[in-house]
């Protein structure tokens, strides 16, 4: 089956979620990928949404993070303060799964403003939502976004959610308990922080994508391995599950 680059991105993101993990699902693409994971290799993945649903098992893709199908299928529905305090802040979440408008070489995320002046932004984005604390308190964070020179930047215009800040030691200095963004998945490939420098480096290219394409869609001097690994292409089962989950692209959150 042929597939789109968006489908490859979503499937690669789904694959990054191990079965049985507890996953705090941010708004947007992550919700699609997390539900795909649950419908493919990770049936015991525990989905936690900031609306307060714990262990939601929706049969279709939720239309928002507060879709009624999440409450109807959840093990528990708790209040929004409780989900942030007792479940996220306490460090019980294995994976915080986030989208982003911009990410930078140190994995910092911007979903607030584009432009240098916060007071007079070029583009006003939705803002933080749950992301700052999801990125801080989850044991690790996985970020999924489309890659371009505008979204993969040397330094984000605004740090909405801290990745590795200005480099090694930053998270410790700021009391950020989780490991931070350990995996970044785009429509071109998969990135991870270099253990020595904390800078995002290419670890894997999606099928048919070249190193040159990845470099051209990156706002910093991207470090790439000599012979990058390749993401296995989507299986028919994965594509079928994704398409069954998401019948109408316009309805997805």
């Amino acid at each position: 089956m042929s597939h789109t680059t968006e489908e490859m991105m979503t499937i690669a993101a789904a694959r990054a979620l191990p079965d049985g993990a507890t996953c705090f699902v941010g708004i947007g693409l992550p919700s699609t990928a997390a539900n795909l994971a649950r419908h493919t290799h990770a049936p015991e993945l525990v989905l936690i949404y900031e609306s307060g649903t714990i262990g939601a098992k929706p049969a279709r893709l939720p239309l928002s993070i507060g879709d009624g199908i999440l409450a109807e299928t959840a093990d528990a529905v708790v209040s929004v303060p409780e989900i942030f305090n007792y479940w996220l802040q306490a460090g019980r979440i294995d994976i915080g799964f986030l989208g982003a408008a911009q990410i930078d070489r140190f994995g910092n995320i911007n979903t607030t403003v584009i432009g240098a002046d916060y007071q007079r932004p070029t583009v006003r984005l939705p803002g933080a939502g749950g992301a700052p604390e999801i990125a801080a308190s989850s044991k690790e964070a996985i970020v999924v976004l489309r890659q371009s020179k505008r979204s993969f930047v040397d330094r984000v215009d605004f740090v909405t959610s801290a990745g590795f800040g200005t480099g090694p030691g930053f998270r410790q200095r700021h009391g950020l308990r989780g490991a931070g963004p350990t995996t970044v998945i785009t429509d071109l490939g998969v990135y991870a922080p270099d253990p020595a420098t904390s800078e995002l480096v290419l670890t894997r290219l999606h099928p048919d994508v070249t190193v040159e394409q990845a470099k051209a869609a990156c706002g910093w001097e991207l470090s790439v391995p000599r012979d990058p690994a390749r993401t296995p292409p989507p299986s028919e089962a994965e594509l079928a599950a994704l398409r069954a989950l998401k019948p109408s692209p316009k309805a997805a959150s």
């Binding site: 609306s51 529905v77 929004v80 303060p81 942030f84 749950g130």
Partner: protein, 295 residues
């Protein structure tokens, strides 16, 4: 104790120009009808508070009701930007809106502090981000036992919180269920509260798992079936996704928005207004609008 009032009266009595108002709801049970009534009554200079300002706040901002927005995530869920919000922030149209920006965890805890009668809340939040640099209401606080530094945020104490619920009895005891978000905290944090409800019953039987707001913490209840449309009311109606999708086009364009405001809410654009709305026209508009599906 609670007054059972028509929506027009409830909004007229409870919400004044310059008030700090929270219309809360987390995708579910969003008090759209009350928001539209606020627009019809042409409230001005409101400080609007909400974790997830969405389409109804876009409408309030576009109609010129807001002077300030306290929030953590502003978007059209599943669709994209709030264009009226962006136009106000990026271009000052129809008037400039100040923003006070937090994270969800911070806002949720600010409501908790308000509901708890505390002046502030403590959380592990904002660390390493630029939010604290731009938002004055985030300060460091040290644990007196471990010395660790955490974030403090001040309590939210809205003048009025408005929520929508499934059910109330004639005494004004309220039940809501499904995803109830931060509504209990928002009501308990407020000085006054207005609850619009799908139905008013003679006797409210205990419903396990429902959030209950006893009448003695609710200022007014307004019977307002469909009052959460186009959002959903668990057990009553589904989310009207087409409305959210259609809102994108309406809100992208100032003229389309102005036409919507006039046609759907009977409100002339801000520039043409010279006097406050007369309340007697509101009730008719309200019932007319609730019968329509699109924005």
């Amino acid at each position: 104790m609670t007054a059972l009032l028509p929506l027009t009266e409830a909004v007229a009595e409870l919400i004044a120009d310059g008030d700090t108002v929270a219309l809360e709801g987390f995708t579910h049970l969003i008090p759209f009808a009350a928001g539209h009534e606020i627009i019809r009554q042409r409230r001005r200079d409101l400080t609007l508070v909400r974790m997830t300002p969405d389409v109804v706040y876009d409408q309030l901002i576009g109609a010129g009701c807001a002077r300030r927005l306290v929030f953590s995530w502003g978007g059209n869920p599943g669709v994209g930007s709030l264009h009226r919000f962006r136009d106000a922030v990026e271009n000052g149209w129809p008037s400039a809106v100040d923003i006070e920006e937090h994270s969800h965890a911070g806002m949720a805890n600010r409501y908790v502090a308000g509901a708890s009668g505390l002046p502030f809340a403590v959380l592990r939040g904002y660390a390493g981000t630029d939010l604290a640099r731009h938002t004055g209401t985030i300060k460091p606080i040290d644990c007196p036992f471990t010395g660790e530094t955490l974030a403090a945020v001040p309590a939210l104490r809205p003048d009025v919180t408005v929520v929508h619920a499934q059910r109330a009895d004639r005494d004004g005891n309220v039940q809501l269920w499904g995803i109830t978000g931060v509504q209990k905290e928002a009501v308990l944090a407020a000085r006054r509260s207005l609850v619009t409800v799908e139905e008013v019953v003679d006797e409210l039987r205990p419903r396990p798992g429902a959030t209950v707001l006893p009448s003695w913490v609710v200022t007014a209840v307004a019977h307002c079936p469909g009052g959460a449309h186009p959002s959903y009311a668990h057990g009553f109606y589904e989310r009207d996704n087409d409305y959210y999708l259609a809102w994108d086009a309406v809100s992208r364009d100032r003229e389309a928005f102005t036409a919507w405001l006039s046609q759907r809410l009977g409100v002339a654009p801000a520039s043409e207004r010279s006097e406050r709305a007369r309340q007697h026209s509101s009730a008719a508009n309200a019932s007319a609008e609730r019968s329509e599906a699109g924005p």
